[in-house]
Amino acid sequence: MKEVMAVIRMNMISKTKEALLDAGFPSISCRKVAGRGKKKVDFSLVEDLLSGGNESMSSTVAESISEGHRLIPKRLITIVAKDDDIKKIVDIIIAINQKGNPGDGKIFVLPVLDSIRVRTGETGEIAI
């Protein structure tokens, strides 16, 4: 049993969910996170927004690109699956999200010791 954690772009979440559903992996959990990667982000692209005092910009956007914490909003999806399915899931996520630009995201595969279904108390791979 393994856990796939993928950090992807905000606007790719629905396509990724659809592709995973089509491939037979309906169960995922996802959340909004903020992050940065190895590459330096060119914030000059949004400098106009920052210095121009654009009032239409929402406060959350302003906060996320302000000097204080320069993190970019991302989506984190988590899937727990059997060992044999991991390769397939990783390939699907890469195929959908790969645009060739830095910032497309990262995928991490972590070992999971056990899983338990709360409703019945079943443990192991049938509980996934």
Binding site: K74, L76, I94, G105, K106, I107, F108, P111
Partner: protein, 108 residues
């Protein structure tokens, strides 16, 4: 590879993030979390709070960088030299594989 998940005080996020990037570990993911610790929360007067807002920093580093990163977070997330309850926890777990989506490579 090692995944480090640090749950720290929200007001310490700024200093930890800037120290991490100065030390050469820019890649990090941050998420808002709520939780309580061994002290079961905080009591303020008659009110007991057991869901205290914290920030979780998640990063994956190479095995040899593990100790440096943990020491750096510990040094910067403490509220005083001695530290105090509620300064946070750091969890370390193994990572089998890491993929970069843009290049498709199997590396950090």
């Amino acid at each position: 590879m090692i995944m480090i998940r640090a749950i720290i005080r929200p007001e310490k996020v700024g200093i930890v993030l800037s120290e991490l990037s100065d030390a050469g570990f820019p890649a990090v993911t941050k998420m808002d979390v709520m939780g309580r610790g061994k002290q079961r929360g905080v009591r303020v007067g008659d009110v007991f709070y057991d869901e205290i807002p914290k920030e979780m920093l998640m990063m994956v580093v190479n095995d040899e960088d593990k100790d440096d990163v943990i020491k750096l977070i510990m040094r910067n997330a403490k509220t005083s030299l001695k530290g105090a309850f509620g300064d946070g926890k750091i969890f370390v777990s193994p990572v089998d594989e890491a993929y970069t989506i843009s290049s498709g490579l199997t590396q950090l």
